[in-house]
């Protein structure tokens, strides 16, 4: 097993005829992902890399039984794209774009929760279950199959960690890019239950950062429900106060909310192993028996 996506994923690429869309469709197909349809308004009836293109997500779903969508469109079209995917009945929608207005995501978030749809991103590399399927733009060559589940607010810190893991022979069950935005579609607490339930995942790695309360909420959840070992890194301890670090979500309030100190404290109380750098994550992983 693995979580969210695997060999049974039947993927739609929204924006397949765009430059990014086509390039990453090729990458995803090459990785073995079942990309069953693309959607670009006005390009219905065409084919991209052998994948049929539809005018609307609903037609794509009706024709191909797709169950997941990844959206490769510019920021301002991201929310409309998610609405269309949700309305077409999809229950897992991945969004990639950076700089999606936070009001758009606020509305998407509330709607998705109420429709029981899982939205990943935006500002995310997507999701990969190594050896099975990828949906997103991550550099898949550094990933390898294994039993460590990773969820990360940062793409680069996740890559760095995965790169070192793979070099040391430790693989991943699934890597989820939660994305660096202020209001992501899914947060750690949304992903934790899946990793906890996944028999293939033995250890969970959580790459967090300053800002927001996702790590604190995760700590509460872990304390109550998670039995598997969890390793956490909080990036941004030394980031300048009150300044956005590019990730819109990584900003510490004037009152100290969202500080790394508080997050690490809460996580420690929940029994989480704290790593002080990406490399330290690997060092800790190597102390846990059965990790591979």
């Amino acid at each position: 097993m693995s979580i969210l996506i695997d060999e049974n994923t039947r993927l739609i690429v929204q924006g397949i005829t765009g430059r990014e869309g086509t390039f990453h469709t090729e990458q995803m197909l090459e990785y073995g992902t079942k990309v069953v349809a693309g959607v670009t308004p006005g390009k219905g009836g065409q084919e991209v890399l052998g994948v049929p293109v539809f005018n609307t997500v609903k037609e794509a779903v009706e024709a191909t039984d797709a169950n997941t969508s990844v959206i490769f469109v510019p920021a301002k079209f991201t929310a409309p794209g998610v609405y269309e995917a949700m309305d077409a009945g999809l229950k897992l929608v991945l969004t990639i774009a950076e700089h999606v207005p936070v009001h758009d995501m606020m509305n998407v978030y509330h709607r998705a929760k109420k429709m029981d749809v899982r939205v990943i991103g935006p500002n995310s590399f997507g999701v990969i279950s190594p050896g099975k399927a990828k949906a997103g733009f991550m550099a898949h060559r550094i990933f390898s199959p294994g039993n460590v589940g990773i969820m990360s607010r940062s793409a680069t810190n996740c890559y760095e960690t995965v790169f070192m893991m793979t070099n040391r022979g430790i693989g991943q069950s699934t890597c989820v890019g939660n994305g660096g935005d202020m209001i992501p579609g899914s947060t750690f607490v949304d992903t934790l239950p899946l990793f906890e339930a996944d028999p293939e995942t033995k250890v969970i790695v959580m790459i967090g950062e300053i800002g927001g309360s996702e790590e604190e909420l995760a700590a509460e959840y872990i304390k109550k429900y998670v039995t598997k070992p969890v390793i956490a890194l909080i990036a941004g301890k030394n980031a300048p106060k009150g300044r956005s670090m590019g990730h819109a979500g990584a900003i510490v309030g004037a009152d100290g909310t969202g500080s790394a100190e508080n997050k690490e404290k809460k996580l420690k109380e929940a029994g989480v192993l704290i790593a002080d750098s990406t490399q330290n994550i690997i060092e800790i992983l190597e102390t846990i028996p059965g990790t591979k």
């Binding site: 920021a75 301002k76 950076e98 700089h99 999606v100 207005p101 936070v102 009001h103 606020m106 509305n107 978030y109 509330h110 709607r111 109420k114 991550m138 550099a139 898949h140 060559r141 550094i142 990360s152 607010r153 940062s154 793409a155 680069t156 810190n157 996740c158 890559y159 760095e160 790169f163 660096g180 202020m182 209001i183 790459i207 950062e209 300053i210 800002g211 927001g212 309360s213 990036a235 941004g236 301890k237 030394n238 980031a239 300048p240 300044r243 956005s244 670090m245 590019g246 990730h247 819109a248 979500g249 990584a250 004037a254 009152d255 002080d276 750098s277 990406t278 490399q279």
Partner: protein
Amino acid sequence: MDLMEYKAKELYDQYTIPTMRGIVIDNLDDLESKASGLTFPVVAKAQVQVGGRGKAGGVKFADNLEELKEVSSSILGMDIKGHIVKKLLIVEKLEVKQEWYLSIILDRLTKGPMVIFSSIGGMDIEETAKTSPEKVLKAGIDPLLGIKEYLPRYLLSKSGCDMVYFDQLYDLLYKIYKMFCEYDCTLVEINPLVISSDNKLVALDGKVTVDDSALTRQPDILEFRESLPDDELILEARRFRFLYIPCEPDGDVAVMSNGSGMIMSCIDLISQKGMKVGAALDLGGGATADRIKEAIRIILSNTKIQMLFINIFGGITRCDEVASGVKLAVEELAENKLILVRFEGTNKDKGMEILESIQGNVVAVDGLREGVQELDARKGQL
């Protein structure tokens, strides 16, 4: 981005949120003609993007035109915590019966708008929340539903305020929520929201923060941002779609990477070693040689910086492009600052070759932690 009070007031006026009549001046020549419509006494307030202007002497009263000229000339051009006062907001003074607090924030915990209300206004709401938590009411708004009339009723009733203000508060909430949504705000704060002697609610100060990611659809806010005095390097970086982040004022190490998570990790590791990061630059996507060169130029024009750590990681990044960019920069800039380069990606070997060919103070390192160790080893050598 935070709007200055005068810009917030402009938006309030646009949404017919009651404010005091006022003018904005940026020089004394305009003062007399612009002030002719105002009724004295008035208050003149320095427009700067920093708190504490009152204590710094940036807010002064005037009973007549002569006094106004005097205080205006004393405030315009003043330096408040490093911010030069270029604009002055002058508004009519109001007879105040009571001061409340009202804001709508985008709350990260509930992931929706939240109204904060207090019958104690005029001071820092965080302070009130500490001293009298029961006086600070919070109520979430479901964005799929918007403002319903039970919200203002709850705020007044629960805080023991007179229900006679219900209509005015409902109207006000409706308008600021509309503005909050239409202007992509993450904060709209009225502090104090005052009750005048004739029982009218008036917004006496305004603080508005607009989502940076939404500026492309907020042309007038974008224009306001362009008009702001900002760090020259931030503006220069923005022109290339880089994000330049000033860090410790006396830091001598700079960090450049292609992702904010990695930048934070680098700063953390460098700080662990007791070094100070002075600036960071996020390249974003598309690390071509030309862009790398420009980024190096921008960050090294911060004269405090002695060492630059370039850390680029991405499966689809071409390391030879990165190396070529470094080479171009070193050749053009001819500065002898230390540049440490770490990369992973396609054509790494070719990239290493190019780095080795550079005539200058450039060092290639393998790995993030190794790079930081190298920085540590070389600090003070320049």
